[in-house]
Symmetry: C2
Amino acid sequence: MNDNQIHVIPLRDFPIVQTGDDISGLIESAIRKKSIDLIQGDIIVVTHAIVSIAEGKLYHLEELKVSKRAEEIAEKIGHSPERVEVALREASEVLREKPVLITKTKHGIITDFSGVDESNAPQDTLLALPENPDASAKRISDSLSNSLGFDIPVIITDTQGRPWRKGAVNLAIGVAGMSPFIHNIGREDLYGHKLRGSLVCLADQIAGSAELVMGQADEGIPVVIVRGVDFNKEDGTASQIIRSKSDDLFS
Amino acid sequence: MNDNQIHVIPLRDFPIVQTGDDISGLIESAIRKKSIDLIQGDIIVVTHAIVSIAEGKLYHLEELKVSKRAEEIAEKIGHSPERVEVALREASEVLREKPVLITKTKHGIITDFSGVDESNAPQDTLLALPENPDASAKRISDSLSNSLGFDIPVIITDTQGRPWRKGAVNLAIGVAGMSPFIHNIGREDLYGHKLRGSLVCLADQIAGSAELVMGQADEGIPVVIVRGVDFNKEDGTASQIIRSKSDDLFS
């Protein structure tokens, strides 16, 4: 029964992260404390919240000057002016203001409130997405790989709403040490026919599988180990997942 | 290390499915052959392909009369007229014709070619989505639950492209025996604050985690067991996941 299973392993009792903390160091010591042996092929999935906190990507409410525009939008949609203000600062483009503020972030991600949230934010702050989640993933991956002696891919995630489908899902916003995709070119279907080239977003599916333990614990689980996935080691990024406007088949 | 892990278990050596076959019976005997003991809390994930085949939701190419409109669209986008024809028959609305035919299916799902595909289709046929995937999931779930003596939720999936993000992901198109969602109301964040009500689409994340073994085997793996997910047993459907147009925050 054990052949080719995938295991999604929560890393429990992760410490509260402070700005300035070294995330890869915290992951290493948490893994050591739990006597978990990482093995080649393991992927580390990290919620962006602890990365943003460690990197200081948060806004202190008392220092925040709310613009007139943010106040107007907040009033119109019945929402916190501070969150709207930070969302506007983090946005490269505002796509719609109501019923919910939808923006494109500087990373090209289209989501509500630019991914800015008070959940998992330290008292009296708002958390934004990391400045460069691919670079953050690479730093964590390089550091873990160095001390373990083999390569450990890292995926940084955010739980986001979607067009057409209710309920948020966890998505990859930073990737290092693996391709975010798998090409099914050359694989065979149920009938032994070669599949035409279909591109699957492995990184988003791994992010979603990690959320199944991240979100459901009584305490927060910011780091998850996903074991047994057959991925392509070629170096990739989450920015490869973002479609350019001209390339978007749907919208 | 075993606490609260999630296991994604491929059901290997599943037989080739024929129209008229009883999917739940095939699942039961495949599980018996592999000496897998299903336990309470297990979720069975089934690719729609074998459900469509069993239910005869396929179009034989030689009997297919291609309409003028299908021929015109196929010519314009350089695609098979037969696939366009079947996609149009399965659509309730055509959203765009090029560069790829995007439709809304009768189920309300927005996807390319109405989910019609030649992958995993028997020779000289095209596979469509099941007529009523929620009802199919319920039939399989009821039958498995009956013979096992405890409730087994079932999720029927399809791998679909998305707006704004490259790479298809596996999504829930039929659900039975569980709510497709989990509400994080009342749960606590990393700081012990109660989370505001956030709705997470558990079923899509489970579908995605199953694809990590479904798509990657050398042979096709049409059935996967997902073990260890904390879900809400209240009876739900995949049609609950579909947003109404007026409710859509993004598009």
